[in-house]
C-alpha cells in the first residue's frame, strides 16, 4: 500500500480507478509535498519566497512532464495527471503548488496550438523543469471581459512589436516562457486578438510591481510590461486572430487544475482539523466527541469527496478527447473552489483561537483557498459558462 495513504486518511477506502502509473505520480507528488513543501510552507508564505528549490526537485522528479507529450520529453499524460500532481502539492501548500499549476496554464496553449518548432523549443525545456511558463491575459481593465484587452501587437516586417501591460500574472518575472495575448486587429474585437510566446530577457519586456497578496504568497504575481518589445514573427502562437479561441480552449483544460488546487487545499485543511479535533480536549473529552464538531467533519469530508469526483470527471472527460468540455470544466472549478473556501473556514473554526494564529497552518490554507474562487475566471463567470451551455444544450434538444 503506498505510503501517502497513511498520511491522507481522506482517500482511505475510496477507489478512484487510477492506473498504476497515475498512482505512481500521486505517490511521488505526495512525497515531495510531505518532505520538501510542508516544512517550508509557512516560511515561504511569510517571506513571499518563490519556491525555486522545490521547482528544481519537481523538475528532477519529472513532475513537470506528466502532461507533456512523450515526443517532447514528457510522460504523455493529460489533464488528470496534471490535476493529481497539483492536488497532492496543494495539500501541503497551495501557494508553492502554483509554481506548478500556473506553469501548466502557460504550457497548455503551446501543447494545443504550438507548431512543431515551438513545441520542440519550449515543451522539452518545460518538461525537464528548466523553464517555467506563465499565462498573460488579464489587464487592469479587462479581467472577466477578455475582449476588452488593450495590449497591442503590430506586425513590422518579420517582427511583432508589443506594447501594453498584463496584470496579476502568476509565475510573473520567474517564468521564462510567457504566453501573452494582444490585439493585432482592433477592428475585429475578440477576433482581432492573437497569442504570442515571449521569452524572459527579450528587450522591451520587463516586470512591474510584485503584488502583496492575501494568500498564495509563495508565488510571484506581477505585471508583465511590454514597451516596444520586438519578437520574431515565428512567436505567434496559432493563427493571427485565434487568441480568444486559444484562451478559452486553454481555460477549458486548465480549470480542472484550479479545482485540483482547491481540492488539495481543502484536503490538507480537513486532515489538520480532523487530527486536531482528536487531540484537543475540552470538558474531559476530545472535541471530536462533540456532535457539533462531528457534523462539521462529516460535511467537510463529503464535500471534498464530491469535489474530487467532479474534478476527476472533468479531467477524464477532457482526456477522453471530448470537444465540448467548457461546462464540466467550469463546474469542477466552481464547485471545488467553493468547497475549499467553506472547508478551510470550518477548519479554522475547529482549531478555534489557535486556528486564527500563524502557529497553525489552517489560517494560511483559508487565505490560499480564496484565490481559487477568483482566478481563471471568477466563480460568477463559471456560472455564466455553465448556464449558457445548459441552455444551449436544452435549445438543441427541443429543435
Amino acid at each position: 500500500m503506498p505510503s501517502f495513504r497513511n498520511t491522507y486518511i481522506m482517500e482511505e477506502n475510496v477507489n478512484y480507478f487510477l492506473t498504476e502509473e497515475q498512482e505512481m505520480i500521486k505517490e511521488l507528488a505526495a512525497k515531495i509535498a510531505k518532505e520538501k513543501i510542508e516544512p517550508v510552507a509557512a516560511e515561504y508564505d511569510e517571506n513571499e519566497t518563490f519556491p525555486w528549490d522545490i521547482v528544481k526537485v519537481m523538475g528532477q522528479s519529472d513532475l513537470y512532464g506528466v502532461f507533456i507529450p512523450e515526443a517532447y520529453g514528457g510522460l504523455g499524460g493529460g489533464v488528470l495527471e496534471m490535476c493529481i500532481v497539483t492536488e497532492e502539492l496543494s495539500k501541503a501548500c497551495g501557494g508553492i503548488a502554483l509554481a506548478y499549476a500556473a506553469c501548466g496554464l502557460g504550457t497548455i496553449p503551446i501543447i494545443q496550438f504550438g507548431n512543431e518548432e515551438q513545441k520542440q523549443k519550449y515543451l522539452t525545456k518545460i518538461a525537464a523543469g528548466e523553464w517555467l511558463a506563465a499565462f498573460g491575459l488579464t489587464e487592469a481593465d479587462s479581467g472577466s471581459d477578455v475582449s476588452a484587452i488593450k495590449m497591442r501587437a503590430d506586425l513590422d516586417g518579420n517582427e511583432y512589436v508589443l506594447n501594453g501591460t498584463k496584470t496579476w500574472i502568476s509565475n510573473g518575472g520567474e517564468a521564462h516562457v510567457n504566453v501573452v495575448f494582444a490585439v493585432t486587429d482592433p477592428s475585429r474585437g475578440a477576433r482581432g486578438v492573437s497569442a504570442f510566446i515571449v521569452e524572459k530577457g527579450t528587450p522591451g519586456f520587463t516586470f512591474g510591481k510584485k503584488e502583496n497578496k492575501l494568500g498564495i504568497r509563495a508565488n510571484s504575481t506581477r505585471e508583465l510590461i511590454f514597451q516596444d518589445c520586438r519578437i520574431p514573427k515565428e512567436n505567434l502562437l496559432g493563427k493571427d486572430g485565434q487568441g480568444f479561441l486559444i484562451a478559452m480552449r486553454t481555460f477549458d483544460e486548465s480549470r480542472p487544475g484550479v479545482a485540483a488546487q482547491a481540492l488539495g487545499i481543502a484536503t490538507g485543511a480537513f486532515e489538520k482539523a480532523t487530527a486536531y479535533s482528536r487531540e484537543r480536549f475540552q470538558r474531559g473529552q476530545p472535541i471530536s466527541a462533540f456532535q457539533g464538531v462531528q457534523f462539521m467533519l462529516a460535511d467537510m469530508a463529503t464535500q471534498i469527496e464530491a469535489a474530487r469526483a467532479l474534478t476527476y470527471q472533468a479531467a477524464k472527460s477532457i482526456d477522453s478527447g471530448m470537444k465540448q468540455v467548457s461546462k464540466i470544466s467550469a463546474m469542477a472549478k466552481l464547485f471545488a473552489s467553493d468547497v475549499a473556501m467553506k472547508v478551510t473556514v470550518d477548519a479554522v473554526q475547529i482549531f478555534g483561537g489557535y486556528g486564527y494564529t500563524k502557529e497553525y497552518p489552517v489560517e494560511k490554507m483559508m487565505r490560499d483557498a480564496k484565490i481559487t474562487q477568483i482566478y481563471e475566471g471568477t466563480n460568477q463567470i463559471q456560472r455564466e459558462i455553465i448556464a449558457l451551455n445548459v441552455i444551449k444544450e436544452s435549445a438543441r434538444g427541443t429543435k
Partner: protein
C-alpha cells in the same frame, strides 16, 4: 568508473518495536526502506557517475523481498542491481555478511570503488564496510563527509572526526563509507520509477559465487545475539544548590554513601 553501492534493507525505525520474548524486531506492518545512510552512498555514487562517467551497480544480500529496495535504487539512477540471495546466507553476522558481499563484488571483476553508508540503522555496527574491504584486500576509509578529487587512479576525501576532519588520499580499488553530511539524496524521478518497474534484478546464489559455504550465514557467524533490550531510563537525580565548596562536599559525601567514591585515606 565502476562503482558498487552496497545497500541494506531495514525496517523504518520511526515505528519499530522489539518483541521482548524473542528479542527480535517486530517486522509485521513496518515498512521496509533502504538504510538511510546507504541512500547517501547511492546519491554520491550517482553524482560521481554523472561527473566522471561509468556505471553504478547496487548490491544487497538478503531475502527475495529486498528486490523492492533494489528497484528503488534503480529508480534513483543506479544502472544495475544484484541481489545475493540464498538460504545459506540467512542468519549472517557482520563477518559472514562482509565475506558474502565481497564475494559478490569479486564476481563483478573490476569494481573501482565500493561505497556504503557508515552503518545500518538496525544493527548500528559499522563493521561491514571495513569487513568487505578486508575480504577484498583493498584499502578503506570510513566516515567520508566529502569527496574532493577523483582521478583515474586515486581519490582525495575528507574523513569526519569528532572534531574537524582529516584529508586522505586513497588508491583505487577502495571501499569507503559515508556520513550524512556528504550530500542530500535526490528523490526518484517518474521516468526512473518506470524504468525500475520493468528492470530485472539479477539474483545470485552460492552457485554463482566463488565462495566457501562454511563461512556463510549462521554457520559462518561467530557473533550471536544473546539479548536485545531497551535499557531502563535513569531515575531520580539530585540538584545541588548553594556555594561551590558546600556543593562539592555534599556531592562527595553522597557519592561515598553510595559506594561510588573512594574514602579519604587517613594520611590526608
Amino acid at each position: 568508473m565502476k562503482i558498487v553501492v552496497c545497500i541494506k534493507q531495514v525496517p523504518d525505525t520511526t515505528n519499530v518495536r522489539i518483541n521482548p520474548e524473542t528479542n527480535t524486531l517486530i517486522r509485521e506492518g513496518v515498512e521496509s526502506i533502504i538504510n538511510p545512510f546507504d541512500m547517501y552512498a547511492l546519491e554520491e555514487a550517482i553524482r560521481l557517475k554523472e561527473k566522471h562517467g561509468g556505471e553504478v551497480i547496487v548490491m544487497s544480500m538478503g531475502p527475495p523481498q529486498v528486490e523492492s529496495s533494489l528497484k528503488d535504487a534503480i529508480a534513483l539512477g543506479a544502472d544495475q542491481a544484484i541481489l545475493l540471495t540464498d538460504r545459506a546466507f540467512a542468519g549472517a553476522d557482520t563477518l559472514a555478511t562482509s565475506y558474502t558481499l565481497a564475494a559478490g563484488i569479486n564476481a563483478l571483476n573490476d569494481a573501482d570503488l565500493v561505497i556504503m553508508g557508515k552503518q545500518a540503522i538496525d544493527g548500528d555496527t559499522g563493521q561491514v564496510g571495513p569487513g568487505v574491504a578486508e575480504n577484498l584486500g583493498v584499502p578503506h576509509i570510513t566516515d567520508i563527509r566529502k569527496i574532493e578529487e577523483v582521478t583515474d587512479n586515486y581519490m582525495v576525501c575528507e574523513r569526519l572526526l569528532e572534531e574537524g576532519y582529516v584529508r586522505l588520499k586513497v588508491k583505487f580499488p577502495a571501499v569507503i563509507t559515508v556520513v550524512k553530511e556528504i550530500n542530500e539524496p535526490r528523490l526518484p524521478s517518474l521516468k526512473g520509477k518506470m524504468k525500475a518497474k520493468s528492470a530485472t534484478i539479477l539474483q545470485w546464489t552460492t552457485k554463482d559465487l566463488d565462495i566457501d559455504v562454511d563461512r556463510l550465514g549462521l554457520t559462518g557467524s561467530p557473533t550471536q545475539v544473546v539479548r536485545i533490550f531497551t535499557p531502563p531510563k535513569p531515575e531520580g537525580g539530585k540538584v545541588y544548590k548553594g556555594e561551590t565548596r558546600d556543593m562539592v562536599s555534599e556531592l562527595l559525601s553522597d557519592l561515598q554513601a553510595n559506594g561510588v567514591a573512594i574514602k579519604k585515606s587517613k594520611g590526608n
